[in-house]
């Protein structure tokens, strides 16, 4: 009997150690150029953001593409946004104050920036510098700034540009930066203009509450979507906004930094997503995507595509890409044909997918 026991004891380590091998997928050096690039935030606090790639012919969807390309190493943060230059993808990881720099075509990691960022949000590139908006402490309204990344050394410069509360998206034109102030954990209603040629001097333009998306239209105007402040909310599961301050689309003349036109949404209605293509502006409101001309003077009452609630949207040619975002499980990417308003493709992408990019 004792012998039996000894054998059992001897067997324990064998049994234990036999469990360790894992089929980690090895690094795959593949060229992703031309793919649609979808960034997924991951769940808040879980550091499980990811990148999905969709081949331009819609044949293959690759989820967790960065992890695959880097020896099973995840990005390890909440993917807030991605910026691109000719060679690189700059992945902004909000919760871990980190920027991951990867080859745009292979997603193989080149570098990592871990100092100089605090609650980073979005990045714009001008020349050999990246400009990254940072909330600082999200509940502190006094410490927002732009961090300046030297793209040759991949280090944050000592100089920062201090801005008003709640910096969010950033675009650049003619050596000037344009930053929307969505307000971080509180609220704001301005767009800041930073003149890089004039000692980083800052001017502000007042718009409606909580400006988020902004871009330059083909006429050269700066178009800004203000979402309004949610005042009262419905119950579970959606806790949707019932009452809000005015939401609007503002058109800004960047020569005079003045708002030339404002299209207000009807009372307590608003839009949450906005993009543009070929002289058209698309925005998402209440489960529908609407289309207006860049010179529109009023908002339409009926949309062009019914999408249901979405948290990400882009237009590429005649195709509308939308993200039905889920922060608990995988999200869904759906592509619609804008001519027919029909769905032409749908697949699962990363958890908490919110952004779509066409880097090439």
């Amino acid at each position: 009997m004792n012998t039996k026991f000894k054998l059992l004891l001897l067997a324990i380590p064998l049994l234990l150690f036999s469990c360790s091998s894992d089929d980690d997928s090895s690094s795959q050096q593949q060229d992703n150029s031309g793919d649609v690039f979808i960034s997924a935030e991951g769940a808040f606090g879980s550091k499980n953001g990811s990148i999905s790639l969709l081949s331009s012919d819609f044949e293959t969807t690759t989820n967790f593409a960065y992890t695959q390309a880097n020896n099973n190493t995840p990005l390890a943060g909440l993917v807030q946004s991605v910026a691109f230059d000719n060679e690189n993808a700059y992945v902004v990881l909000n919760d871990v104050n980190t920027l991951v720099i990867a080859d745009k075509n292979t997603l193989v990691r080149k570098d990592i920036v871990t100092t100089g960022l605090q609650n980073p949000r979005y990045m714009a590139i001008v020349g050999n510098r990246g400009y990254i908006t940072n909330w600082g402490d999200g509940s502190n309204t006094e410490d927002d700034y732009i961090a300046i990344l030297d793209l040759d050394t991949n280090t944050i410069e000592a100089t920062t540009i201090s801005l008003d509360n709640g910096v969010e998206q950033i675009v650049a034109r003619d050596n000037k930066l344009y930053v929307s102030h969505k307000g971080a954990f509180s609220t704001n209603n301005i767009v800041s203009v930073v003149d890089l040629s004039d000692n980083n001097s800052v001017t502000t333009i007042t718009v409606n509450d909580n400006p988020d998306e902004l871009f330059f239209s083909n006429t050269g105007e700066l178009v800004v979507l203000s979402e309004g402040i949610g005042l009262t909310f419905g119950g579970p599961p959606t806790f949707s906004i019932i009452e809000r301050t005015t939401s609007s689309i503002s058109f800004i003349d960047i020569n005079t930094n003045t708002v030339t036109r404002t299209l207000d949404f009807p009372e307590n209605q608003g839009a949450e997503q906005m993009t543009h293509a070929d002289g058209n502006i698309y925005y998402a409101s209440n489960g529908e995507v609407f289309n207006i001309d860049v010179n529109a003077t009023s908002l339409p009452t009926s949309g062009v595509v019914t999408t249901g609630p979405i948290s990400g949207m882009e237009v590429n040619g005649e195709e509308l890409y939308t993200l039905t975002t889920d922060f608990q499980t995988l999200s869904t990417l759906t592509v619609f044909d804008l001519d027919t308003a029909e769905e032409i493709f749908s697949d699962q992408v990363g958890l908490g997918a919110t952004k779509i990019y066409f880097p090439n």
Partner: protein, 635 residues
């Protein structure tokens, strides 16, 4: 060999062990403390404590706090059936039974519930485990006795006040890697009139270990370290008992605990770590036990204060605070109707309040009435039937019910069964936290049963239970309206089924060579019944074991822990999971002095001897191979 096969083999091995064990003739009487002993005396009713029948109960072995002294998480992880998840070594640590959530684990200090009124949890790295005299781990629901949160299981932290002539002193000190030290002194004194316990502990660590996950490096390609992870804590316990007469005893228990921790940021950017948290708790309990005729009466009055100060950035001047208070009044009377029947009545009042810089002062009052019936219809059959009706100022609390039965089959085999309904009321944070609190939450409610057996022999104690828990109106924090803002809501019906096994077995190999094996294993299948998907953070297999070899003054041990892949979302996709964890420790102890009246033991230990990379929280690796030495003096 894949994991499934491994676990099947292990299961078979355990089964084999139990069969073999039954055959082993009891060797000559050994001085091995059978730590899992939960002796129930049949033949007369005598529920000294408010116990209920039919549940699986494990008493944490005495050696556990010495062997795994670094922090309470480590102690319980290697020696109990509880699944612990720490947010980095020494960080916030939550406990789950049987795949339920951490708020379904009730913790009681000398019979008083101590889970925070704010978040409904006990942080298992902020309890004074190494000065606690007895840690009892009751698996399964027991809201009838312990109220809110006792769904998955209950951890009872008890201090001993005995009215007999005794003087026990213990001095313990351990020092190890990362400048980690754990120290405590404990004195239990008493005579026929008085009983006194005085204890104090101090633990600290730089906790700046290397992250051995080679996939992640810093900006210069170097290793990452657990920056900003240092901690220190101390506690002081003073308890006093006075026996006025055999039928009239008064007890006073008191504990102060203070902790100061920095929270590391983990991978990929530990240099960004700035968080710091200071916890302070104070607990006082006055207990008066009286007997008259066939009545036993116990009155308890307790006050708990639990405060924290949290710095999002410890170098800035701003911080958050929270102050919670609980006052308990507990009246318990037992009436021994006959040798076969005992009736109990409990009145239990709890006044709780919270105030934080985010939540203005809130109060809650819960008054519960409990009826408990111990009935022993036959010599070998013991049953308990109990009800609890709680009136709560904020919620409609459903009636809690518990029915337990234990049947002695042979002299050494007992069958156990228990059916219960239990609840957890929403916490202040869940209701009132700004932006995310949900004032419309309902209590979550469980219906559950378990069936098991226990084999008890002189050198063997083996228990196994099948459990089946269904929770309705489960409160979960979920993303709201397509945003990454998480709010609590009642949503799910969940089902947790599985088997929990614990065993201790000791035998002599040759004269004076004693081998002792102990193990805990839980198989859990936890599902969301709405979509039939697996619930996150409920790994299928969780197993720990200790193998001890003692020869005269020499003791060597090998201990291990295995957890199967733990999914972090309901997707069951590998990307959203923690790899299987495996960790083994080895140690040696030598009794330098061993006499009738004193024992001086010195020990050394290698933790994580295989230098394995393991995670209990995503991207917060636990330390690689590390070392400690200790001295333990009892007199």
């Amino acid at each position: 060999m894949n994991c499934k096969k491994t676990y099947i083999s292990v299961g078979l091995m355990l089964y084999g062990l139990s069969i073999l064990a039954q055959r082993v003739n009891s060797e000559k009487k050994q001085d091995t403390i059978n730590s899992l002993n939960e002796v129930t005396v049949f033949g007369k009713i005598l529920a000294k404590e408010n116990e209920i029948k039919g549940q699986k109960v494990v008493v944490l072995p005495n050696y556990a706090v010495v062997r795994n002294a670094t922090n309470p998480t480590e102690t319980l992880r290697f020696n109990s059936p509880i699944a612990l998840r720490d947010f980095g070594n020494g960080g916030i640590s939550t406990a789950r039974f049987r795949g339920t959530s951490p708020t379904n684990t009730a913790v009681l200090w000398n019979g008083i519930p101590i889970n925070s009124a704010g978040n409904g949890l006990t942080d298992f790295n902020t309890i004074a485990l190494n000065t606690t005299d007895e840690v009892k781990i009751v698996s399964g629901g027991a809201s009838v006795l312990y109220g809110t949160g006792a769904i998955g299981g209950v951890v009872l932290l008890n201090d001993d006040l005995k009215f007999s002539k005794h003087q026990n002193f213990q001095l313990f000190s351990q020092y190890g890697s990362f400048n980690t030290s754990s120290n405590y002194v404990k004195a239990n004194l008493g005579d026929s009139k008085w009983a006194l316990k005085i204890a104090g502990a101090y633990n600290s660590s730089d906790n700046d270990y290397e992250y051995i996950d080679g996939r992640f490096v810093d900006e210069n390609g170097g290793s990452l370290f657990n920056e900003n992870g240092n901690y220190k804590n101390y506690n002081l316990d003073v308890s006093l008992g006075y026996k006025v007469s055999n039928n009239n005893k008064i007890y006073l228990y008191s504990q102060v605990y203070e902790s100061d921790r920095s929270f590391s940021a983990g991978i990929p950017n530990p240099s960004a770590g700035r968080e710091r948290n200071q916890d302070f708790s104070q607990r006082n309990l006055l207990k008066w036990d009286t007997n008259f005729g066939k009545f036993n009466q116990s009155v308890k009055l307790a006050h708990l204060a639990l405060d924290y100060t949290y710095f999002n950035n410890q170098f800035s001047s701003t911080s958050d605070f929270s102050e919670t208070q609980n006052t308990f009044f507990d009246y318990h009377v037992k009436y021994n109707l006959s040798q076969k029947l005992q009736l109990s009545y409990l009145l239990n009042a709890n006044f709780s309040s919270i105030e934080t810089n985010f939540i203005s002062r809130k109060n809650r009052r819960a008054i519960a009435m409990v009826g408990l019936l111990h009935y022993q219809p036959f010599k070998n059959t013991a049953t308990t039937l109990s009800f609890r009706n709680e009136e709560n100022t904020d919620f409609n609390v459903p009636l809690a019910l518990n029915f337990g039965v234990e049947q002695q089959l042979l002299s050494f085999i007992k069958l156990k069964g228990n059916y219960s309904t239990n609840f957890r009321t929403p916490t202040f944070n869940e209701q009132f936290w700004p932006r995310v609190g949900n004032p419309d939450l309902l209590p979550e409610v469980s219906k559950q049963f378990e069936l098991g057996f226990q084999i008890q022999k002189e050198n063997l104690n083996f228990q196994a239970s099948y459990f089946n828990i269904q929770i309705d109106d489960k409160i979960l924090w979920l993303p709201s309206s397509g945003s990454n803002l998480w709010k609590p809501r009642n949503i799910k019906n969940t089902s947790n089924k599985g088997v929990e096994v614990s065993g201790v077995y000791s035998f002599q190999l040759l004269t004076n060579h004693v081998i002792k094996l102990s193990t805990n294993y839980t198989y859990t299948m936890a599902k969301n019944l709405e979509n039939n998907r697996r619930l996150p953070f409920a790994p299928e297999h969780l197993w720990n074991f200790n193998v001890d070899y003692t020869y005269q003054r020499l003791n060597m041990f090998f201990q291990g822990l295995q957890q199967s892949r733990s999914f972090t979302t309901e997707d069951s996709v590998k990307f959203f999971s923690l790899d299987p964890a495996e960790v083994y420790n080895v140690g040696v102890n030598i009794d330098i002095v061993k006499t009738e009246t004193q024992q001086l033991t010195m020990g050394a230990k290698i933790n994580n001897v295989t230098n394995s990379l393991y995670y209990f929280t995503n991207l917060r690796p636990n330390p690689g191979r590390n070392y400690s030495i200790q001295i333990n003096y009892k007199f």
